[in-house]
Symmetry: D2
Subunit: 310 residues, 4 copies
């Protein structure tokens, strides 16, 4: 973990945290494009899951889950713009990650959103030390520290959506690509964008299969940029290697199609393809990784290698 | 259409209509359980689609769709109660119904929520006279007037969800069972319940396949009842013949399972079945009709004949 | 149960039963269009589930399930024709129905085709007497005898598909509409059609939710008719009240769309609608009932009332 | 492309090709475990799509698609064993790849298996030269030659399934991992395994989005190995870096769950995890890539890095 310049402004939430992505929360800060800020976030359980806690139900109640830090106003952001979030660094503010299984929540169990008559899986909680090399899973295995923000997005126009759901405005995408070094592009829907983030993960497998990643509270250092007048429909992500789109829906098929179509339209608008040619090309070089398959909506990430585009 | 007693209180919305189901809208009326009220609703297009209008996009913009009348406070309703809505009558307040096809919206087209690269279906609008016998579709065909409220529900705790979506709190279920003579049971989630309704349909096929039913503004006469301390998870409907549950999700499989499981749990709690016996029994006598397959979430209605229960 | 004329030819399978719908089985009979025949079928468990049997796994092994009687050659049937099956009567040939729960099979459990890590539901078997009034479920409840053939279809061209799967050629549709009084239309794909049937049900709820209906061996009396040169894509059903299409796929959304599109195309070819008008009309008067949600593919039945068509 | 030792036995299909995976085709060769063989395959269109051909429908008719080379008997293979296919090399036997769009087939269009009322996408065919560096897509872009077999599998017990479908026995998985250097493990279901392969791809994006990859006829060099008495449920793949499972179903959610559960059970049986621990671990380190989203069943590939296992 590196040392940030002392001039970075720090943003903390005080008082009750928002559990929705919506335009009605009072802003906690106003930031200029180009200004580097460090945002402090709690983990998805509001830092309440400790070895002393018997069960999830003792400390967490739906819909008061996945507390977000925000909203943050980005100066000059107007509906019809795109907000680019440059993620610089994610530092844990605790010495361990938490993960576990919540009854009827996760990718390999029936859920309240798709129930069966079967009993739930056993509830188990793991408190895993953060070491120099990563997160210690057991005596033999250390998982590399590859952090990303599980949740990141902006306020929709009139809705307020629970912070467990990913959608066109971002939110709980739980895909590993919202990580340091990458840009996340979000559609600005209200004045000032009203940015939220939270749910930092020290690492996560594709799918966030147990429903819970390696959850950490964090200090995330970012910088905003505005692309004035650029309207996008779904979150885009840019890495050194790929342009990407995160589509969220259920079932995964719909999430995949959302991501592919937005990616193709991006290739058309910015890279000189016609739509059928982009379809042919992405059919042969596109990549798609599962984001999550546990949240109320699932997320798929479509990718096109940048080496073919520039 | 019958004449209501003159003592029925009439409730109208003035000013801008809510387009979300949420707890933040100022109430427009407070009603006692047992009091009969007549609520006036606009059609799903805010009565703006007329023969003079060229296209949907000229008068309607997402998310400003499906205006709701409400919220209405039900005196004494508290979280943990169930609100029973007795629907007495739905009278059209216009001489015709509107239906049509909106590009990329409907059950037999790709949509923004599940896109393809194909062009949209043609946009077509029909303005169909309401006659004594029903709705005149063409020279040869009159569809019986079998009205129901497409949208009916209560406010969730902290969320504000667009009025196109059906969910556990009701909303845009678009199932033909929310009709005169039936009771709709809704979970009370906030003080006073905060009831909304709108989107009256003069008639509709299962699935609301084109995405648009026979849309009418209406005067709907209802009466509230409270079941104190009864917690339900999903909207229930009671007719003379059936107990029913409306489950909403995507894909239809999940909507179906939600409805079946809640129906089985109702048979267990109120009718003396154990869970496996209820499963066996509903497997042999249950009925399931498609509600809608066009809204952001789809709705399936599971039914158990009351003759086996009482 | 009525007495059939003595002249009805009886068709029985001897030797091992087919467990697939395919063109490679030797025919067991050749029948003329217009000839009334009575076909004997075993139940889905080959009549092996008895009160003495401990568990399903002791007597049944995948893929040797759902034995079919057939193939029956229909004289004169050629690819490109439609085979119409007039169902006259279904008589049980045993004094009881069998139903039960098979581990990891059914509508409200995870399955091998969509697994979770949860334990299976309990295996339970019920042997229910057939009485004058119907099937006795328990002391208080008798379910009316409303029999239908769970499985009915023709051979595909080169494939041989397990008899648990419904598809474009018919097969295990498990929808209550393949019942006495109705016509089932099937696409002829090979010379002689090669008709199979089996899996009689004394009654069943929509969805065949436990995965098992009220299973009976039966004597089913039918008559074939040929519509020469009529090509259909999916099974059609005609009752006194409705024209119907049974679509089979997963998820239910796809099954529904298959059924709706074929129904609309039928309205276009035979009843003078253009495609958009049929879409508008079926959107307002169509009905859709769940067939089954347990087989490898699920089945939805789309209906248009005949009163609007003739 | 390397030169094979002259001693490699070559296997060619003569006469009509099988279009199904089934046990009824006469074998074309018998091979010993450990023997290296070179199998010649046609492309998915039986090499019939040429620049002179106007449209797909002129030369190809369902179900006569995706011709397979086989069945090949593996000496000593018995039901209950696992057949390991070591893929050594895939060499094109033509100087170009073919790709294109077939009406109502592909990942970003409605299909016969999930139809809408929309018109099809335009049919377009591309004939792309194979060069030293790869496949020339246009003046600016060359796609690296990264070949794999789209279709590979064994005969099911009694079924014969069209060669477009992937399932538990392998078949048309269209995932990029069935490539040189990797092992593909298949469940032996009949005596001699009856191995088929075909549908070689010079390269393909995740999802085979247009429904057609860079199709080539090929000479594929492989070697069989038998794991006696090892029963597996779904195809497994081993690379230098990963153990993998390919699950096939619809929707993608079900394909994903099949792959994850089989992967977890593999971690339990071979690598000392208990099931919940494997779930926790794979939740944090698992990877999942889309195989295809166009075939009658879709394919997802779940991966666990071997560095954590050995």
């Amino acid at each position: 973990m590196t040392t940030e310049p002392t001039t970075v402004r720090e943003i903390r939430r005080t008082g009750p945290y928002p559990y929705t992505y919506g335009p009605h929360h009072p802003p906690i800060a106003t930031v200029e494009p180009g200004e580097r800020v460090a945002i402090y976030t709690l983990d998805a359980f509001e830092n309440k899951m400790t070895p002393e806690v018997g069960s999830f139900a003792d400390v967490c109640t739906y819909p008061y889950l996945n507390p977000q830090t925000g909203p943050i106003i980005v100066n000059g952001a107007e509906p019809g713009d795109t907000l680019v979030v440059h993620i610089h660094e994610i530092e844990p503010t605790r010495d361990h990650a938490v993960t576990g299984t919540v009854p009827y929540f996760g990718g390999l169990t029936s859920t309240n959103g798709d129930p069966t008559l079967q009993p739930p899986l056993e509830e188990q909680w793991l408190f895993l030390p953060l070491e120099a090399g990563g997160i210690r899973f057991d005596e033999k295995r250390v998982i590399p520290y590859e952090p990303f923000m599980g949740t990141m997005g902006v306020a929709p126009v009139i809705e307020a959506v629970n912070a467990l759901t990913p959608d066109y405005y971002g939110g709980n995408m739980d895909c590993v690509e919202t990580r340091p070094g990458n840009e996340v592009w979000l559609p600005v829907l209200v004045e000032g964008a009203m940015f939220f983030t939270g749910d930092a993960h020290a690492s996560q497998g594709d799918g966030e299969l147990t429903g819970v990643a390696l959850e950490i509270p964090a200090r995330v250092t970012i910088e905003f940029e505005l692309k004035k007048g650029l309207e996008i429909k779904w979150p885009r992500i840019v890495s050194d290697e790929y342009i990407m789109v995160a589509g969220s829906a259920r079932p995964l098929d719909a999430a995949a199609r959302i991501a592919w179509v937005e990616l193709i339209d991006w290739m058309v608008s910015d890279y000189g393809f016609d739509r059928m040619k982009a379809y042919h090309f992405i059919g042969q070089v596109g990549q798609m990784r599962l984001g999550n398959m546990v949240d109320p909506k699932y997320t798929m990430v479509a990718k096109c290698p940048r080496k073919y585009l520039d």
